[in-house]
Symmetry: C2
Subunit: 186 residues, 2 copies
Amino acid sequence: MEKATFVELSEQKISNQNGKMKRGVAVIDFILRLIAIVATLASAIAMGTTDETLPFFTQFVRFRAKYDDLPALRLFVVASAIASGYLILSLPFSILHIIRSSAGMTRVILIILDTVMLASLTAGSSAAASIVYLAHKGNTKANWFAFCQQYNSFCERISGSMIGSFIAIPLFIILIILSALVLSRR
Amino acid sequence: MEKATFVELSEQKISNQNGKMKRGVAVIDFILRLIAIVATLASAIAMGTTDETLPFFTQFVRFRAKYDDLPALRLFVVASAIASGYLILSLPFSILHIIRSSAGMTRVILIILDTVMLASLTAGSSAAASIVYLAHKGNTKANWFAFCQQYNSFCERISGSMIGSFIAIPLFIILIILSALVLSRR
């Protein structure tokens, strides 16, 4: 009888430790999501408001560059906005995991959605990155001209806008890894 | 005493069912990895051997298009080759999960590596896709010319090469989801 109680107690201790570990991970999860929301939202807004009109113009043409002249940049804005929207909606689940560390099904759902969002954000960001690279460097073989020499501040803006999403991508990877680790400890 | 035996038996039954489920998932995992290996390898090889010389030339210039005239396509070949190499190396783990359905740590390792590979393959593929789109459609605002009108078979080849990797991306997502489901059942 005494032995049984001892086993029960030590089992309880382990499950308590496990619960603490899970709570800690849930708090980190919540903080990472907050950072990722700020990063993706900043990216989407910075890119979505990019618009440069050059200070010289002819009678017929005004030289103007807007982000949605390049379809890849429009995709980037959409992907970043969707990612940040999803992250905001996922916050209640993250809080639920802090309160109730035993919740299992919601973790699986979050892993699935996180993975899909990781893929969509990565796709949007890399498509935009390859176009931004082209705007900077051009391609002599394909006769694509690097227009960044003219539209200087436009190019700086679109390059800078990408930083946020490229911060959010590794955060998503860490979120998925943390959830997997917690699931493996059940 | 009898009650205890009954509880033990029914627990064993559940764990048996769980074992069968895990084995089934492990077999699906193995098959999906095989398909993804073929898809990424075919993509890498098809893109890596793309080379078109136009049938007309002047005294000084031969018109020739190679995949690595476009840096994004080189990135695509590297990302696809790395993904297929990783998938081949992950096969023994997948087989291990078929044989020993209780293995937990290797599943977590596979989820982590799968997630990283998903991100890298998606990045390479979308970067290349946005360049291929540009080769087809061009961009009048940026004065980027669609060279697909000249290099017809080159363009068909680079577009076709992308299919394999875009098949492998959802397969990676499914692999991660399956591993997460198995981990949640432990």
